[in-house]
Symmetry: C2
Subunit: 342 residues, 2 copies
C-alpha cells in the first residue's frame, strides 16, 4: 500500500454472511489488507451470527443507518436494494463505498472500475465506486489489451455462468439437486425457474427489454462504461450452467485492425491478472473446476475467426466470487488507498 | 410410407449396443418403421449379447463383410473407422446405408441430409446417405427457414453439448463423477481430458487445424453442405457441459435482408420438426433436461441483435441422440423409401 505503510483502515463488509461477503473476508486476509476494525454487517435475520476472521469470531451486526460510524471503507454485497438505501449513509459517515451490487454501476459520476482496465477512474468518485458485473470484469480485462493494440469493433459473447453467481441459495440448490440425481431421483426446481443440475438454463435473470434479460443488458452497458467506449457493439446470450464456482465465456471479437492469435497470446500473457492457458494443437484450456479459487482470469482457445474481417475467437474463465466480485472490490479499495482517495 | 403400404424392409443396425444404436431401435419401433428382419450388429466384443426389440430378444452378431446379405437398409453408428470399412460392403450387398458417423459426410456424391432441409438430396446417392453432426442438424433446421426468407450472411455459434454426444463411456463417467461429488469427493477425469461433472469443457475433441477442433470444423463444413451454401460464414466454439442428453446452441445470425423477431417466430413455428418455446418477457425457453426424449428442435430467446446490421439472436435445444442422430437417420430412410430410392 504505497504512501501509507503503517496506516490501518476500518472496514465494513455489508452482506458478510453471503457467498461474496465471505469471499471478501477471505480476500482481505489473503492480501494482508491493512484492516483496523473489521465490522461484519448483514440483515437483521443474520445478526448475532459469528463468523471467523483472522483468528477472531466476529459477531454479525444488523445493518442500520448508523452502522458506518468510524468506518473508512465499506464493501457492499447485499443486493441492489440494500446498496441504494445504505451506501449514502456510509458515504455520509465518511467511508469510501465499494459496491458490488448493480445499484450504482450506471450512475454518472460513479466510477465503475476494473483496476487493470480503468483504475484511474476511481479518482472521480463521489464516495461510491461500483464493482462491475461478474462477467463484465473478466471480459473487459481480456478484450482491453487487444482493444488498445488494434481497436475493437464488436464482441459476440455466450456465457457459461456458475450457480454461485446467483448466491448461496442456488449454490445450495445445485448441491441438493446433484444429490437427488446421484440417488436416482428427479429434482424439482425451487430457487431457480428450471432444474440446474444436469441441465443448462438460458435464463433465470429478470427480463429487461426487447427479449434481453438484466444480466445481458448489464454486460453490454457495463463493458462499454469500463472501456470508455459507449458505442461498442456487443451481443450477449447468458446461460446458467451446473457449475458451483467459475464463469466461462465464449467470445468472438471483431477488431479494427488485423491481429493474429500469436500476438493476442503475447498481449494477454503480458497483461496483469491474466494467465494464458492455450495450445492450439492440444487439450490445453482453462475450465471452471480448475480455476475456482484462483485470482487470475484464464484464457485459452485463442484462434483466428475467419468468418469475419479481423476476427478472433477465444474462451475465458474466471472465479466469479473472486475476480468477478470480492477480489476486484478489494483491489479497488487498495487502488483508492494508493491514489490517496482515502 | 407412401407408395409401399405393405412392403417390409430388412434393417441392419451397426453399433446396436451403443447409445445411438439403442436409440435407433427405439425410434424404429416408435415410428412403426416397416421392419421385416432386424439385424443387430456390433463389434466382436459385444457379439452374443441380447437386446430387446419389439418383444423379442435379438442376439447381437459380430460385424463382418458378409453381415449385410438380404439387408435393405443399414443404419451405421459405430464410428468413422467401422463405416469407412464396412459401408461399402453393405452397399455391395444391395443395402441403402444411412451412416451416422463422420466418415462419408464430406465425400462428394454422398448426400448429407436433414430431411426437413435438403431431403431431395437423397436422390443423388450412390448407396450411402450421411447423417450430419448432432449440432449441425438442429442448427440447419432452425436457420434454413430464415435463410429462405431473407438470406444468411453469417452465423456465430457457441454450443452446450451433452455427455451422450461422446457416447456411453462419457455418459457413464458423468454419472460416476456426479455420485462422487454428491458424496463429497473430488472426481478424477478418465474418459475425458477434464472433469465434466460440475464443470464445462471447451474441448475434448481432437484438434483439427488453426486452433479449431474436429467438432467445430464439422459444424462449419457440414452446415454449408446441407444448406448448399459453400461460402456461408460460420464461427463456432464447442463446449461440453455436464448434461446427460440434449445439446444447446446460442446462435447469432446476420441476415441479408432485415427480419424481426416476430417474423422469425412465425417462420419457425410453421416449420416441420421445430417447436418455438419463447416469451420475450418471461422465463419461457427450452432446456436440455426438458427436451431430452422429444423429437423436435426447440427454439427460444428469439430477439433482435442490435450489435450488427440485420442481427437475430436465438437459443436452440435438441435431443442429440434423437434428432441429432437416430431419429434423423430413420427419417432419412423413410424419405428414401417414399422417394422410391429403395
Amino acid at each position: 500500500m504505497a504512501g501509507s505503510p503503517s496506516r490501518r483502515f476500518n472496514v465494513a463488509v455489508v452482506g458478510a454472511t453471503g457467498v461474496v461477503g465471505a469471499e471478501m473476508l477471505k480476500v482481505l486476509l489473503q492480501r494482508r489488507f491493512p484492516v483496523g476494525e473489521l465490522r461484519a454487517l448483514a440483515s437483521g435475520r443474520s445478526a448475532g451470527q459469528r463468523i471467523a476472521f483472522n483468528g477472531d469470531r466476529l459477531e454479525v451486526r444488523a445493518l442500520d443507518r448508523k452502522s458506518f460510524a468510524g468506518i473508512d471503507i465499506a464493501l457492499f454485497s447485499a443486493g441492489a436494494g440494500i446498496s441504494t438505501e445504505f451506501a449514502p449513509d456510509a458515504v455520509e459517515a465518511g467511508a469510501l463505498v465499494v459496491d458490488n451490487s448493480s445499484a450504482w454501476r450506471m450512475v454518472e459520476n460513479c466510477p465503475l472500475v476494473v483496476p487493470e482496465v480503468n483504475g484511474d477512474d476511481i479518482a472521480d468518485n463521489e464516495g461510491i465506486v461500483a464493482n462491475p458485473n461478474c462477467c463484465a470484469i473478466p471480459l473487459t480485462m481480456v478484450v482491453d489489451p487487444i482493444r488498445r493494440a488494434v481497436g475493437l469493433e464488436r464482441l459476440v459473447v455466450s456465457t457459461y455462468q456458475s450457480a454461485s453467481g446467483a448466491g448461496k441459495p442456488l449454490l445450495d440448490e445445485l448441491e441438493e439437486q446433484t444429490r437427488i440425481i446421484a440417488a436416482g431421483g428427479r429434482p424439482l426446481p425451487s430457487v431457480y425457474p428450471k432444474q440446474l443440475a444436469h441441465n443448462v438454463v438460458p435464463g433465470g435473470w429478470a427480463m429487461d427489454q426487447d427479449g434481453y434479460n438484466e444480466e445481458e443488458v448489464k454486460i453490454v452497458n457495463e463493458s462499454r462504461k469500463i472501456l470508455h467506449d459507449p458505442g461498442l457493439r456487443i451481443a450477449v446470450t447468458c446461460v446458467r450452467v451446473p457449475v458451483p464456482i467459475g464463469h466461462g465465456e465464449a467470445v468472438f471479437l471483431e477488431t479494427v485492425d488485423p491481429i493474429g492469435p500469436d500476438r493476442v497470446r503475447e498481449l494477454l500473457a503480458a497483461s496483469p491478472g491474466i494467465t494464458v492457458e492455450d495450445d492450439p494443437t492440444g487439450q490445453v484450456y482453462p475450465t471452471p473446476a480448475e480455476v475456482a479459487g484462483r485470482d487470475d482470469v484464464y484464457v485459452g482457445r485463442i484462434r483466428r475467426d475467419p468468418s469475419t474481417r479481423n476476427g478472433i475467437a477465444l474462451w475465458l474463465v474466471s472465479d466469479n466470487l473472486r475476480k468477478g466480485a470480492a477480489l476486484n472490490a478489494v483491489q479497488v479499495a487498495e487502488r483508492a488507498i494508493e491514489m490517496g482517495v482515502r
